[in-house]
């Protein structure tokens, strides 16, 4: 029914993650959310060194272990088994969120259910349906230097996830800086969203057609 459903698909999950990886600044400390953001470390550009923070109490998160090396005491915030690196440091949860709330983490790359043109973010619950909780997302969006959202541009019904106003309970108000979707990259600016680039095979018009939020030029 909407044009979005017939529109171009743009980037796949890996391409979105690769685009998000280009946001990483050399020498920074970064937190990655669950979902597509967990693919980002596979695409860190040559010459860029980042230290990944896992909010359950670790800086310097390494890759998944090989089979047989899993350690029940070493998991990431998605509860997946991981490994440590030579520069790893461990700490408790209060300390961990101290560095998040205190602005020491440069950037968070997170998934979302909805983002609106004011930079409001909803990614933690659907009333009456899905009650999982915000985990560390509210602390992250309030505390880190820059918030980049990676998500599909539309939901499974073809409706825009980039809205004029979020309909779901918020994770944070005016917290999103940039959104990377399968159709392109948009920044939250005064008055709405600004198109930074479009995905392969996606025109600016395709992107506008699939977006409910105000696009400013």
């Amino acid at each position: 029914m909407t044009t979005a459903q017939q529109g171009p698909k743009g980037w796949d999950r890996n391409q979105m993650a690769a685009r998000a990886a280009r946001e990483l600044q050399d020498g920074t400390y970064v937190n990655l959310g669950i979902g597509i953001p967990t693919l980002v470390p596979n695409f860190i550009p040559e010459g860029v060194e980042v230290t990944l923070q896992s909010e359950n109490g670790m800086l310097g998160m390494g890759p998944f272990p090989v089979e047989g090396e899993e350690d029940a005491d070493l998991i990431n915030a998605g509860k997946q088994t991981i490994t440590e690196l030579p520069n790893t440091a461990y700490f408790d949860s209060a300390f961990s969120f101290g560095m998040i709330r205190g602005g020491k983490i440069a950037m968070a790359i997170l998934g979302a259910m909805e983002v609106d043109e004011n930079g409001d973010l909803a990614n933690w619950m659907i009333p009456g349906k899905l009650v999982k909780g915000m985990g560390g997302a509210m602390d992250l969006v309030a505390g880190v230097g820059r918030v980049v959202v990676v998500m599909d541009h539309t939901n499974k019904h073809g409706d825009s996830k980039l809205l004029k106003t979020c309909t779901l309970p918020l994770t944070g108000k005016a917290v999103v800086d940039r959104v990377i979707t399968n159709l392109g990259v948009l920044d939250v600016v005064e008055g709405g969203l600004k198109i930074v680039e479009t995905a392969d095979g996606v025109s600016e018009q395709d992107l506008r057609n699939a977006t409910e939020a105000t696009i400013v030029s």
Binding site: V66, I75, K79, S93, K132, G133, G135, M138, K173
Partner: protein, 232 residues
């Protein structure tokens, strides 16, 4: 000053009562006080309020206390892995107070540090801020969150000496130190109790002043999401 007890059941003797507030360490199933949870199930204590980041899974960790309906209210940040929890909550049998994860950790730390309240920007403009005092510094709003003062703390460490000086292992540290701090009485289960003098004083993560009762036991240490990469 005897802190070492023979079993989780003995360590809980005389300090557990209905309707009490318990702070529990652990993140997911990592670093949870699994032996003390089992002993609480066995004790039959009811009407518990439990401050814990997660609620275990259906058949392990705090999920066991949910299955027996011994928990009245959870204070948590994420409960997504527990079907029975979801059922009890959606049917109104269980109260749930969502706390942002960092706010929950800081509320425990603050309680243990004698701080009844603190202001944070986490949750400003969300339902978390509803009914909470707001103050502004330099044009930024902050909401008042209260310290948690628990009746007891149940935590898990890797090693402790007989005076309770404790060391945690890797990410199993998580909520255990702040949870330990905020309880009037803290019961700690460890994988190994070592003689006083055998731990490096510079390497202690939690000083024994916060720990009142210690037990040693065997832990299942279940892995929630076993994830691997192909061998090179």
């Amino acid at each position: 000053m005897k802190k070492v007890y023979g079993s989780a059941k003995e360590a809980l003797d005389g300090i557990v009562h209905d309707d009490m507030l318990i702070a529990a360490g652990g993140f997911g199933l990592c670093g949870i006080p699994e032996l003390l949870i089992d002993a609480l199930v066995e004790s039959g204590v009811k009407g518990l309020t439990v401050a814990s980041n997660n609620a275990g899974v259906d058949d392990f960790g705090l999920g066991k206390l949910l299955a027996t309906r011994q928990i009245k209210k959870m204070m948590s940040s994420y409960v997504g892995e527990n079907a029975e929890f979801m059922r009890q909550y959606l049917s109104g049998e269980l109260e749930l107070e969502f706390n942002p994860q960092g706010t929950l950790a800081e509320r425990m730390r603050a309680g243990g540090a004698g701080i009844p309240g603190f202001y944070t920007k986490t949750g400003v403009g969300t339902v978390i801020a509803d009914g909470k005092d707001v103050k502004s510094w330099d044009g930024q709003d902050y909401i008042l969150e209260e310290g948690i003062f628990a009746d007891i703390s149940i935590v898990k460490a890797w090693k402790a000496d007989e005076t309770g000086n404790a060391i945690f292992r890797k990410t199993a540290r998580n909520f255990n130190p702040p949870a330990a701090m905020c309880g009037k009485i803290c019961i700690m289960e460890v994988e190994e109790i070592v003689p006083v003098g055998s731990l490096d004083p510079d390497a202690i993560h939690l000083p024994g002043v916060y720990v009142h009762r210690i037990i040693q036991g065997t832990h299942e240490k279940r892995i929630e999401q076993r994830t691997t990469r192909p061998a090179a």
